[in-house]
């Protein structure tokens, strides 16, 4: 369990911060152009953060040991995702492999 103040300060501040990002140009900056290098960097924000969040969870299972099934499922998601460009296909394949085989193995 978390302290209530810890959770609520994250929720409220994250909500305000996210809205400010979304409002920034529409509301304040207007038509003025962004520095082009900054804009270039922003293009990579998803691939710069999300893979880093995934890596430890994929490499270490629930008890911290390497769990081959996670690697296989993760590889399947990536390959199918790059191949088909479809979020639904890749995620259903990956979850089916992981939870399906886990259930079969008991």
């Amino acid at each position: 369990m978390f302290e209530s103040s810890y959770v609520w300060s994250i929720i409220v501040l994250l909500g305000i911060g996210t809205w400010l990002i979304r409002f920034s140009f529409l509301g304040v900056v207007g038509d003025r152009p962004l520095p082009s290098y900054f804009k270039r960097m922003l293009n990579y924000s998803a691939v710069a953060v999300l893979p880093g969040i995934c890596a430890p969870v994929v490499l270490h299972g629930q008890d911290g040991a390497l769990e081959p099934l996670r690697l296989i499922a993760a590889a399947a998601i990536l390959i199918i995702g790059v191949w088909t460009q479809s979020l639904m296909k890749s995620i259903s394949a990956g979850l089916l492999i992981y939870f399906g085989i886990n259930a079969l193995l008991g």
């Binding site: 953060v49 999300l50 890596a55």
Partner: protein, 240 residues
């Protein structure tokens, strides 16, 4: 079709074209509800996330850092870094919605997640003749139903999540959704290089205090992505 359509006509078309995304956002919202409840958040907190933040990837990022007891500042900075892509969206929409009154722009900003942005920018090239009101209607037509679905799916996951079997490795579901989000982007060398930097950097820097390794790795990855792109462009220019 009328050249000067109304707000409502735009809204209806937007809602229709946003429909396929419900297949993704419904399950994703439920997943967030389940995970947040399992992490120990109460119903008001779970719904607070989905209503006030309304950004799935950032919500799940915050949740996974909270699970590791990261300090508030680290949770905020990392989750906001995930949302920085929205700075691009808002910049891209200025030339279309910039002339709306400020309160409408404030409302538009609240609903600015991936799908409304993507659908609206496609629609701008397909139907350039739309009036400002009709275009604003189209945008909200994509956004509002999907946003309401997001709330509902979160609620469903939070209240019925206990029906799910325990200890089946639900923690893997988060990276699974993230990998699926990222995979379609991994078609350029620069994106691959940024993703690789993010993975290797996070693993190597895992010893840094307050889980700040992820953040440092992300900043490095942003630079690597932009730099690879710039050099490839330079090289291409030399051959032209």
């Amino acid at each position: 079709m009328a050249v000067q359509g109304s707000f409502l006509a735009g809204f209806r078309q937007g809602a229709w074209s946003g429909l396929p995304f419900s297949l993704v956002l419904g399950p994703f919202g439920m997943l967030f509800g389940v995970l947040a409840t399992e992490a120990g958040l109460d119903l008001a907190q779970v719904m607070g996330f989905s209503v006030l933040v309304i950004a799935g990837a950032a919500q799940v990022t915050a949740l996974s850092l909270m699970n590791e007891q990261a300090p508030v500042v680290v949770v905020l900075v990392t989750a906001l870094a995930v949302n920085m892509r929205m700075a691009i969206y808002t910049a891209a929409l200025v030339s279309h919605f910039g002339s709306l009154p400020v309160w409408k722009r404030a409302i538009a900003a609240y609903w600015l997640f991936d799908q409304p942005f993507a659908m609206t920018s496609v629609d701008i090239t397909k139907n350039p003749q739309r009036s400002l009101n009709e275009r604003f209607g189209f945008y909200l037509g994509v956004a509002v139903p999907l946003g309401l679905l997001w709330y509902g799916a979160t609620l469903l996951g939070a209240t019925l999540g206990y029906l799910m079997p325990q200890n089946i490795g639900m923690d893997f579901a988060i990276p699974a959704t993230f990998l699926a989000l990222v995979a379609p982007l991994l078609r350029s060398l620069a994106h691959l290089a940024a993703a690789f930097t993010s993975v290797v950097g996070t693993l190597l820097l895992s010893g840094l205090p307050f889980n700040s390794g992820l953040l440092v790795a992300a900043l490095l990855a942003l630079l690597v992505g932009a730099e690879v792109e710039r050099r490839l462009e330079q090289r291409r220019a030399q051959y032209v």
